[in-house]
Amino acid sequence: MRAFLILEDGHVFTGESIGSSREIISEIVFNTSMTGYLEVLTDPSYAGQAVTMTYPLIGNYGICFEDMESKKAWPDGFIVRELSRLASNFRNEADIDSFLKEQDIPGIKGVDTRALTKVLREKGTMNGMITTKEYADLTEVTDKIKSYKVTGVVAKTTCKEKISYKPGEFGTDADVDCGLHVALLDVGSKNNIIRCLLKRGCTVTVYPAFSKAEEILAEKPDGIMVSNGPGDPSECVEVIAEMKKLYESGTPIFAICLGHQLMALATGAKTEKMKYGHRGANHPVKDVRTNRVYISSQNHGYVVKEDSLNPEIAKTAFVNVNDGTVEGLEYTKQPVFTVQFHPEACSGPKDSEFLFDEFVKMMEVSE
């Protein structure tokens, strides 16, 4: 079946429908990872967006359910150049088309994703519609497309109830136990954040995004982790207020991506929307304290404004080597550090996974 991707500026890309055939309007973003499409599809940070994969051959190794980063797929739509008709991998359990159908996610294949990416790069992230309907008159839909806004996505992705994990779960080793307890504030968390903590012997309690700080602190966790997540951070007013309290408690905190942005907002800094964001598995970030560069996995469309930082509260710890944007903050008054990139990887390189070790050390010291 023919399908169309209509951008708000009137660009139309024609392809073939994959997955669900329903019509959607979403924010169109692109990801440059060459592997890890399932991790991308199941990353809650993509809620409210439709993802374009710049790598043209998708689905080669099928779907390995254990690689899912959350219970379901989150993007509103999936845009690819070519979907492999054969999935070949020893762990392969399903093909991507049936997975998308089962998840009721519409997609389109046969799109010149490079041309699409260039449009997004030049004009910035914009909204688009994936549809199987042929609109004779685009003006019929462009206004509707333009008016779309990513909103309420944290509420959509966070867990509904508190849940605890201990080492041994999620395929980790039960014999590793460091005796530390981490409270994870789930604003759209990927599983591998939990796994990275369990692997180091922490027990983890995951809290829904709208939990009260008091509730979390009452459990006296050794450390608090704030996860990644979707959407505009400044929209999360309630969460930011609770984060301020968590910050003030003096409990060691490690935050990733949306968590990093929320912590910055909670302590008086500002965030802004980027032209087309960072989404991929090849972003160099530099630790300004050691000058070491790490290749990181990234997925964000907002960034902490460097000039909004109060150096008495937080200092830049990591910068993006490509564009110099803030990639990590070290807070001066409290044992808090936050990063914009994804040390938990999945997909992407594990070069910065050692940050979880640093978090563990931070918790041990503060004990």
Binding site: F30, T32, S33, M34, T35, G36, L38, E39, T54, Y55, P56, L57, N60, Y61, C64, D67, R81, E82, S84, R85, L86, S88, N89, F90, R91, D112, T113, R114, A115, T117, K118, R121, G280, A281, N282, H283, P284, K286, N291, R292, V293, Y294, I295, V321, N322, A345, C346, S347, G348, P349, K350, D351
Partner: protein, 1065 residues
Amino acid sequence: MPRNKEIKKVLVIGSGPIVIGQAAEFDYAGTQACRSLKEEGVEVVLINSNPATIMTDKEIADKVYIEPLTPSFVRKVIRKEQPDSVLPTLGGQAALNIAMELEESGFLKRHNVKLIGTTSLTIKKAEDRLEFKNTMEKIHEPIAASIVVNNTEDAVAFANEIGYPVVIRPAYTLGGSGGGIADNEQELVDICANGLRLSRVGQCLIERCIAGWKEIEYEVMRDGNGNCITVCNMENLDPVGVHTGDSIVVAPSQTLADKEYQMLRSSALNIITELEITGGCNVQFALHPETFEYCVIEVNPRVSRSSALASKATGYPIAKVAAKIALGYTLDEIKNAITGKTYASFEPALDYCVVKIPRLPFDKFIQASRKLTTQMKATGEVMSICTNFEGGLMKAIRSLEQHVDSLDTGEFTELTKEEILNQLEVVDDRRIYVIAEAIRKGIANETIHEITKIDEWFIDKIQILVEMEQRLKNEELTVELLKEAKRLEFPDSVIARMSKKTEEQVKEMRYANDIIAAYKIVDTCAAEFEAHTPYYYSCFGSFNEVEEISNNKKILVLGSGPIRIGQGIEFDYCSVHSVWALKKAGYETIIVNNNPETVSTDFDIADKLYFEPLTAEDVESIVRMEKPDGAVVQFGGQTAIKLTQALMEMGVPILGTSAENVDAAEDRELFDAILEQCEIPRPSGHTVFTVDEALKAANELGYPVLVRPSYVLGGQGMHIAHSDKEVKEYIEIINVHTQEHPILVDKYLMGKEVEVDAVCDGSDILIPGIMEHIERAGVHSGDSISVYPTQSLKQCVLETIEEYTRRLAKALHVIGLINIQFIVYNDEVYVIEVNPRSSRTVPFISKVTGVPIVDLATEVILGKKITELGYSYGVHKRADFIAVKMPVFSFEKIRGADINLGPEMKSTGECLGVGKTFNEALHKAFVGSGIKGPINKKVILTVKDSDKEEIIEIGKRFKQLGYDIFATRGTSRVLNANGVLAFPINRIDEESPTLMDLLLDHRIDMVVNTPEKDGKVGDGFLIRRVAIETGVTCLTSLDTAKAALTSLETADHADISIINLAEVK
């Protein structure tokens, strides 16, 4: 970390002659690195024995020493030039080995020279089998169960313990030379004994056979601050068991999920960190196809063939970055030259699929075993880029220039299903075609996978191509079908053939429906950032990204495709120089080529680079897009010349010598008329098409005769026939592929061969130098030792040669380059071949005479006169020194290839010896080509009857040097009768001890064997093969043997000088 200011003068060690396993990729890497060093104000001193390289240009390095790559000569250069540092990581294994020797002996320390880019400890940890094993164990990186042995007994004991098959890998050798897989004890003993001999340190690794696992490579960079990145990973279509250089390789990996991808990536980073490499490194893995188990196969702590491929596949200039790292920069300080925005500390994101196919030399070595093993056999490779794998494969296949343009070669059509199943077991260069035929015959993909272990993903892609063939054959060619066929990169010729249309009809249908190639940019970042480098590849069904970059006139330069015997790196040298000269003259240059190993496909050589097959259709698509004002074809070898006609039909003016005149040189009748008109004699001959015509011609001329196809490369299919039977045989071989052009039968004259390259501006000629061959006529010019300036020719002969060259250049209306081969027979000069284009000897002559031949030819093509360019007509003044160009062979890599020299070219590369005297130059040439000096001082002489007279003098000279002579009965009888003591030795089929035992005993330095007859398998063949396989020098021409003796005699008179060729004007 900013640049280390203490580094002011760096010695860069090149990789020497092109051999299998060490090819043009090191010229690419070395050139890029030298330019990168000079950019930083570093004075670059270069040593490399290979004159066909761009890195040995005085524009690239400040001091150029074309000297043998041995520790002794490198020491001489260091003593003379006193560099503060040596950079050994750009010259492949050859350079690393030398650096190790200089470091270990304390020489570098004594002369206050630092190794940069690596340390001896790093080299040792990566290259020494035992150290490597220990290092990997230390960091818990798995390697296949293995043992390092110094003798075969230990190897057998270990194999009995872990079970067969086992893999044998000799330490410190090129391209896995001497290695292999043994299925039983006998094979193990054979391969291991040979490997021990070939290894520099007498070590072999015996390891668990992991054949059938996925083979995955990572290219990794690390700087002095410990920052690491991977440039890209690559997956071999051929599972472990085939050398990666002989495998079809795809980038990035296709069948790895992120978990496997990241697991191996982390491992590669872990390894480069532990080895403390500063620069580039290649890590090869075997990955179990059904589990997460993996093994590290090999680490190369330097730039390599794979790193050249990775650079071209991603746009990331590994060698350039490695050079900057060697100077102290960190990755985040080095700008990404493609985007100009990002830095070297990122990982390229590809938004296309890259396919590499090796170019194997079995068309040259018809008798050789085509089996692919862990020992590399390919002489070169092609790369293609497309948005899908199928298209990449189709493009790569036609880039090989092996008369194949699709998976349907017809070669296996006649085989039954049963035979195909058997054929699938054979691991050779035709395997993908066999797989395609298996699919056509209805064999299940699963079965094909079971047999070949090739991942089903790749087999499915081949099936998609086969399905398209069927559709084209069976369905109406609709616009939709045509679109899909083009998306899969079926060329018009194949579509036409399969759908029973003409190529014109297909093309018309395409244009009518706007089905045309679009071009995309290779930008390292999947379009995330704007790129400024016009590095393009084509695909169908996409938006075009080509932009106009200037208002200058555009000139298209066609490259020379994959490196193969007969068309080597020298044509890339010419193409690159032509591009540079055109740029200097203010033109916009566009280069088309498909060879990832070369300088010409570096993204900053031409203004625009199209990485595309060199076929008429692919070039036409570019021409339609770019509308060039002219094209230059005379620098890209036969590959480019063959496209002349097609370019003219597209309406592109050919700059320089016109197509009609190129034809005149190749068309026998036209050429004969020209010779007659010029009053130049040539050996008499005829053009024929059939066996009968050939026999008639041969008998008329009288035997021996020379039989060859016209329009050939490196004497391909050329034979000296002595009888009717041989004529028949050879004509049949030539006619295996349909000949568009006639076959030539000429009288064979056994004289002196002389070669000339000249530039002609339409009015007159400039001859930079005249060369003379050591071997008598009959040995291909590319396989002959060539001497400049001539040593034995009389002045009047030289004058005749100059005059004939002038007449021919004018008669053929040559504008640009012309190469002529003469035979001087009884002081008479005959013309045997004229090529109105660049030749193999152009780089060599440019360097030794200081005349920039290609630059001049390019200027002349653009309309300048030689005299306007600061040169005068006639023969350029003779140099003050003598240069000897020596062919270098890779026979030890090609099992079953006969090494005897003849009219068919067999050498893979060349080296140069430059000296104040002829003997000195000759000696250096021999040393540079890797021929060892006396070790055991034992030589075997066995020559055909007609050579018996000449062998006496040779025997005497060996005796004088203190050699013991062993000779077969006939030869020894002649020697002893003439007062030369020779020990008679039994022939192979006689009682032990025989010739073979002597060789296998590893106590012979050299064999001189002149074959009884051309190309016959027999005793002589066996002797030559065994000699080669046991690492013994084997010479098949008495002229070469005499030259070798001269070299050995000269070795005693030490105090050999070295010459900086950058000073030659």
